[in-house]
Amino acid sequence: MSSTTDYEYQPRTRSGRIANFVDTRAGVSPMVKEFGRKIFPDHWTFMFGEVALYSFVILLLSGTFLAFWFDPTMTSLEYHGSYVPMQGVEMSGAYASTLNISFDIRGGLFLRQLHHWSALMFVMALSVHMLRVFFTGAFRRPRELNWVVGCVLFLLAIVAGFSGYSLPDDVLSGNGLRIADAMLKAIPVVGTYMSMFMFGGEFPGLAIIGRMYIAHVLIIPALILIMIVVHLFMVVVHKHTQYPGPGRTENNVVGFPVGPVYAAKAGGFFFIVFGILALLAGTTTINAIWNYGPYDPSPVQAGSQPDFYMGFPDGALRLMPGSWPFSWEFTIFGWVLPMAILLPLIPIALLFVAMFAYPWIERWVTKDNRVHNVLDRPRNAPFRTAIGAAAVTFYAVQMMAASSDLIATHFHVGLNDVTYWLRAAYFLGPILAFIIARRMCLALQRKDREIVLHGRESGRIQALPHGEFVEVHEPLDEYKRYRLVDFEDYQVQPARANAKGKVTGMEKMRGRLSRWYFEDRVAPVTPQELEAAHGHHDDHEAVGAGSHKAQLDK
């Protein structure tokens, strides 16, 4: 914080005096000064965090409105509201009040839909934001902890969505709870106890909606809020990252100050997000609970799916064979282990652990512990991009599996065939994605090299006096070239002996991983190479042979 100014400011107008009164007591202006002069670089990929933040604000607003009318009880009553097809049906207070919000409260359906669309937008924006951070390497030192906070936010968002989805007590939300109950019960030894604890007795009981409600409107939003504050605080402390470019170094940030230009843009952006969501909520149905009917543990409906962010565990369960090639239920010391449920959850748990730990994993493999404020373009970190592509594919296959029945009916293929194909994709997809993403990155890097050394292909053909035709290459300007050559050139760090002169098993593994990460690489163009290329501008051969670094090992 900067020190306060010495001279006493004398406001002349009345509003000025009020403002000054508040300021001298609340100390706002130093904060504005500090915060308002933060520099925020402009790039569209930097805005998804904001989209998530604004969606969250809209969730708070619309959720508060819903809370005025929502009744989180499970005691049953007979419906007499204005939705005709359900009149006289027995249902819980929760379901009836959601029907009331939808059909009898002015603007209720709009706000329900706004709340739910905002929930989808929130999780989507959060996911895209995380992908941006991952693929540009923004999680590296000093931002590792903020990556962890982001991962916690991602988990909290999923839990928030799931708890909200469970509230209306329609058949879909009950099915979701039923699966959650089954997963809990599958945990060896403590599972049944945990399920009884959560539901206050046998599933479904009469307690769960009330408990979910407190979690949904109080505990989880409060946790999310705290995490957002911590997250933003760290962003301010660390300053923003930036893409490589002329004049951009590890020690500066190039962009607009937050105030006034950026703040105005951001404020406007809030209303844009609000507008998009309001348009969706006003025109497009979401969670038509009146179709699903009140929850009753016996019927299961075709097309029962969770919201997309809960799709991956559901899909994993659908992919797991139940009794092939043998029954997956084992009994050990009298405890039943339903592996058909547990087994598919293990890779998901590992994926999440790896997500939290990734900054440290990468640091360990690369031995790169430096501060990074300049981002990687994804192509310039082929190993990381490939790992990310594999993880996304793994996640996406499971998410797709959650809609296997709809894929079957809509593309006129057999449900069993869809499952077989997705099972194959579950194992092969990530490997293929890894290989393809990596090859694409290397190819793009080589293209960049070409462009730096020879300029852009202009499409103009020139006939030389002796009859040869050549294409004219336009040299790059200084600024564009900078973007293409300024990147980290990681090299294989072979295993080394430690202080005692011993190469540990761990270190050997690290060495192998490092080779796997970096043995194929394309180095940035060095000034000498550039010099050489410009020296013999027309002689393409000479350049190709001279740049030994451009050669790939394979």
Binding site: P41, M47, V84, S102, W117, T284, N291, G293
Partner: protein, 263 residues
């Protein structure tokens, strides 16, 4: 009470009990069969209908169902399936079947109402079976959609989806969407259980309840989507696709626009 408990041991008591039991079961049976038979053979087919029907049958159906509808390798016996089954299968265009597959496909009907009636009459003449439902049980103004919702969600939604949008079954079979299906065909589907659908006979779901179900399905059909576009009534999957396609595209559009006038 005392007197009654003493007379219990009277030799004629057993006889009296037997008579009472017989009367009860007989009466119940009579009631049960009349409800089942209530509509049997209400639509009468003239001899000419049946004759015309037989001609149509020989020309169009006998290759698979046999010359006397006794069944072949390629199609089941139709003896005793009743007029309702024919009206459903032919009226929805499933029969004559076009190609063997997991399930007969719906296609534009090949026969007009008159011909369908003749075919139904012919098949009904081969053996007693469920008849075409009476109009009374198809009149949705008399149905109770709340009860229909209950019956539908308990019996049909697991295959046909809560909103009647349809769903997948194993190995390429599927339960079709129920939107826009004729009242009579809904009734007949429940009564005859076409292909992979179970039969819901009148003991399972009474004719009145069937009418309630039809009322509910028609209410869904006529629903004016209070929430706006229904995205195919496919639930969270289409909602997720919506946000990840159009939602994301619009947001990206705005972010690019906002950052286009950059430093």
């Amino acid at each position: 009470m005392k007197a009654l408990s003493q007379k219990r041991r009277h030799p004629l008591a057993v006889l009296a009990l037997l008579v009472m039991a017989l009367l009860l079961t007989g009466g119940l049976y009579a009631v049960a069969t009349t409800t089942n038979e209530a509509k049997a053979e209400t639509t009468t087919y003239s001899a000419q209908d049946i004759e015309e029907g037989q001609k149509l049958f020989l020309a169009n159906c006998s290759t698979c169902h046999g010359l006397n509808a006794e069944g072949t390798e390629a199609g089941p016996s139709l003896i005793g399936v009743g007029a309702a089954s024919v009206d459903f299968q032919v009226g929805t265009g499933r029969m004559p079947m076009q190609m063997q597959g997991p399930q007969a496909q719906v296609k534009p009907e090949q026969f007009n109402e008159e011909q369908t009636k003749q075919l139904a009459g012919y098949v009904a003449s081969l053996g007693a079976g469920p008849a075409i439902p009476e109009d009374e049980y198809l009149d949705v103004t008399k149905g109770d959609s709340a009860n229909g919702a209950k019956v539908f969600l308990a019996n049909c939604a697991m295959c046909h989806n809560a909103a009647g949008a349809g769903g997948a079954l194993t190995r390429g079979k599927y339960a079709p969407s129920l939107m826009g299906v004729d009242e009579a065909h809904i009734y007949e589907a429940m009564q005859t259980g076409p292909q992979n659908m179970p039969v819901f006979n009148d003991a399972n779901i009474t004719p009145e309840e069937k009418r309630d179900v039809i009322t509910y399905i028609k209410a869904l059909d006529n629903n004016t989507d209070p929430g706006g576009f229904n995205l195919g009534s496919l639930g969270p999957v289409s909602e997720g696709l919506m946000i990840w396609s159009i939602g994301l595209a619009v947001v990206i559009g705005f972010t690019v626009w906002l950052t286009s006038r950059s430093a």
